[in-house]
């Protein structure tokens, strides 16, 4: 038990009235969470078992697990889920590796550290819509990339349809995801790196350890908690991706570049299938929860 813990447990200030005071201060936050988080979740869970109608005087019939079965039998939902997993599998490690690399480089320099931090962080604060439009221009058939490859460097005889087919379009979009996320990872990892005691590195140097050994045996184990945090947060973020696909491909051609959120949006507002979308969102939430639990098990943070 820590000293502060003992203080609060035995303090004369820690009494029933203080509990009430704390409770009262928590009430506004709780009201917000209940109204805007818990209530919608519960409501959506209920909706997922109904053929939910949105018009006046319309009865929403109970359909049991029909919406969930519809999701499982929907080939486009399968495509969307596969694309989302692909997006997560590429962007999460991509952002983390490059973000960590940037953090290591910035951590090792004495001058211009703030400048580099700012430059790496700039993509994070730019608008998703703007950079998505920019990437669409770069990767379009008559875009910048094809112009450089075919007309300037003449490396390829004719343009490549970067956005024309499913996997090329998904790959192009993941590059945007990685580019935009490096800065955020850099900041998080930089904070973690600066918390690693210098004495460890000094002791390792005395023992004759090289830079690579120091990285694998000192740096990585000491930032394991941060790696877990980034992995979980980025995975959740990847499953919540919407804008880049909506702007760059719009799910085209023939829904082959849909991801779960764009497909959910389409089903909700174009097909008005509220129950289906609610079921899909719960299944996706379940998948994210399972991934998070597995990551916590695998990358359990052990205090050194």
């Amino acid at each position: 038990m820590t000293t502060s813990g003992v203080f609060f447990r035995t303090s004369k200030y820690f009494r029933k009235k203080d509990n009430i005071r704390m409770l009262l201060l928590l009430v506004p936050g709780l009201v917000v969470i209940v109204m805007f988080t818990f209530y919608p979740i519960i409501k959506m869970f209920i909706m997922s078992f109904f053929d939910w109608k949105i018009g006046y005087n319309q009865v929403s019939p109970f359909v049991g697990i029909k919406n969930y079965l519809a999701v499982f039998s929907d080939p486009i939902a399968g495509i969307a889920l596969t694309n989302t997993i692909f997006y997560a599998a590429v962007t999460v490690p991509g952002q983390m590796i490059l973000g960590l690399l940037a953090a290591l480089l910035i951590n090792g320099i004495r001058k211009f550290g703030v400048t580099f931090r700012l430059l790496y962080y700039l993509p994070v604060v730019t608008s998703w819509v703007i950079v998505s439009l920019l990437f669409r221009y770069i990767f379009s058939n008559n875009g910048l990339l094809n112009y450089l490859l075919t007309d300037v460097f003449k490396w390829i005889p004719e343009y490549i349809g970067w956005l024309s087919t499913r996997w090329l379009a998904m790959t192009s979009t993941t590059l945007l995801g990685i580019w935009k996320g490096i800065g955020w990872n850099m900041v998080i990892f930089l904070a973690a790196l600066q918390a690693v005691p210098v004495e460890y590195y000094e002791a390792a140097s005395i023992d004759g350890a090289g830079s690579i050994q120091k990285f694998f045996y000192i740096t990585l184990p000491n930032i394991k908690g941060t790696i877990l945090f980034c992995t979980v947060m980025l995975t959740i973020g990847a499953f919540n991706t919407y804008t880049p696909i909506a702007v760059i491909t719009g799910g085209n051609p023939a829904h082959q570049t849909e991801i779960v959120l764009t497909w959910m949006y389409y089903q909700t507002f174009s097909s008005l299938k509220m129950g289906y979308s609610a079921a899909l969102s719960f299944l996706v939430a379940g998948i994210v929860a399972i991934i998070a639990v597995i990551l916590f098990k695998v990358l359990r943070h052990e205090r050194i």
Partner: protein
């Protein structure tokens, strides 16, 4: 001292809760605000106040094109209407096509719907199925008079079942636009058009472009070749969307795509959008509505383009009827509905229709269509007028949006060569039949 320790958090909590709850409350209906303002402002001028029996604000959602100058004209028209109808204020809100639909979908649940909406003719059966639209032909005794003033065919799009749930705002269909530098011999038949598309295609040019592959884009070819999408009684799609005519049409498009003579931004997300592609000479031909002329003229002044009626198939040149209708919602009370109806009649009247024609909206008002100013403002009007004689409306069913989505997906798969055309369209027919049976 002890009391104050408890009292302070209580006061803070109450304050924060009130702030959150009140900020979550909707703003007072605009008409209430208007009432207050109008009363205050009207105090010095008693004569005017007498005319304002019940000040009311009408919320009007629309998708008039700001880029084409339509919203500027709308503002002027609203100003005219408000001057002619003291006490009625129009609060216009622009929403793009999908946003308009999404907001009505959301509003159907919350009850926050406008008094008037001007939206795609395809919205009428969809919104009517949500049971949110006013049955206008029974709600207003002079509906028949207002409907008489507009063209019958466009106004038929506002009918669902036995009643009218809207009135036509403007109409359109599609014609062939072609780049004069690329297309020297203008095709008059669809077969000639496909052949021209192949001839003019090269490494830098794609002969023909379609912006999408739904019914809005495919119906015209299938109809013109003598086929259809659904059975006339909407009972089935089998034998129609997967019939020999539809399959032949889509096979033709697939063949053209395979040789680089056909594309579009939804078939290939890397391809330029249709207007930009036409404007930059990437696409040689496209079939589109009257807005295309405005878009091309506004963005690509140097482009030399021509326009003719859509080339004919064996069954003729049968385009797709498009356009927008005015709709009203049940959420409005009688006072708002009356004021909204006044506004709709004004917007479908000759003067407003002439002004809108000057910024690219094809009138439905019969008098406006014959007006010299309209003829001068719309050089392509005669071509569209001819095309309107033979065009057809898409199936009027609440499920049409879903059907279009299915057609787009399956036809795109076929054109991309991912599935044999017959297989893809058989799948489309089966999915549409399942929708029809619901």
């Amino acid at each position: 001292m002890k009391k104050s320790k408890i009292l302070l958090p209580i006061l803070i909590s109450i304050f924060l809760i009130l702030v959150m709850v009140l900020s979550g409350c909707p703003t007072p209906p605009a008409e209430e605000v208007t009432e207050e303002v109008t009363e205050k402002e009207a105090e010095p001028a008693e004569e005017e106040t007498a005319a304002i029996t019940e000040p009311v604000t009408i919320h009007f959602w629309h998708n008039y094109d700001a880029g084409a100058g339509q919203i500027d004209v709308l503002d002027q028209l609203i100003s005219q209407f408000e001057q002619a109808n003291p006490g009625i204020t129009i609060n216009q809100v622009y929403l793009e096509w999908q946003g308009l639909k999404n907001n009505v979908v959301a509003g159907a649940t919350t009850g926050m719907l406008p008094d008037v909406l001007r939206g795609d003719i395809g919205f009428v059966p969809q919104f009517q199925a949500l049971d949110v639209l006013v049955e206008m032909d029974t709600a207003f005794s002079d509906y028949a008079d207002a409907a008489d003033a507009v063209l019958e065919a466009p106004n038929s799009t506002a009918k669902a079942g036995d009643h009218y749930y809207g009135i036509a705002s403007n109409t359109n269909t599609k014609i062939l636009y072609y780049n004069k530098d690329l297309v020297t011999t203008v095709p008059t038949t669809l077969d000639e058009m496909w052949a021209t598309a192949e001839e003019v295609s090269s490494e830098d040019v794609i002969g023909f472009c379609e912006a999408w592959m739904g019914g809005w884009n495919l119906c015209q070819y299938i109809w013109s070749y003598g086929g259809d999408i659904l059975a006339p009684d909407y009972s089935t799609a089998t034998g129609y969307i997967n019939g020999s005519v539809a399959v032949t049409v889509i096979q033709k498009l697939a063949d053209l795509y395979a040789v680089g003579a056909f594309s579009g931004p939804t078939i290939d997300p890397g391809a330029p959008p249709d207007t930009d592609g036409m404007g930059t000479g990437k696409y040689a031909m496209t079939i589109d509505g009257p807005w295309k002329a405005k878009d091309l003229s506004a963005k690509y002044n140097d482009l030399q383009y021509g326009a003719v009626q859509m080339p004919a198939g064996p069954a003729g040149s049968i385009g797709v009827l498009g356009g927008e209708d005015f709709m009203m919602f049940k959420t409005s009370d009688a006072i708002h509905q009356d004021a909204a109806w006044k506004f709709i009649k004004f917007m479908t009247g000759k003067d407003a229709q002439v002004e809108m024609a000057k910024v690219g909206q094809m009138p439905v008002n019969k008098e406006a269509l014959a007006d010299d100013e309209v003829l001068e403002a719309m050089p392509l009007l005669s071509i569209f007028a001819d095309a309107l004689q033979t065009c057809k409306a898409r199936p009027v069913t609440p499920k049409w949006g879903d059907m279009e989505g299915i057609i787009n997906t399956k036809a795109t798969e076929a054109v991309l060569g991912q599935k044999p055309v017959q297989t893809a369209m058989d799948e489309a027919a089966a999915e549409i039949d399942a929708l029809l049976q619901q």
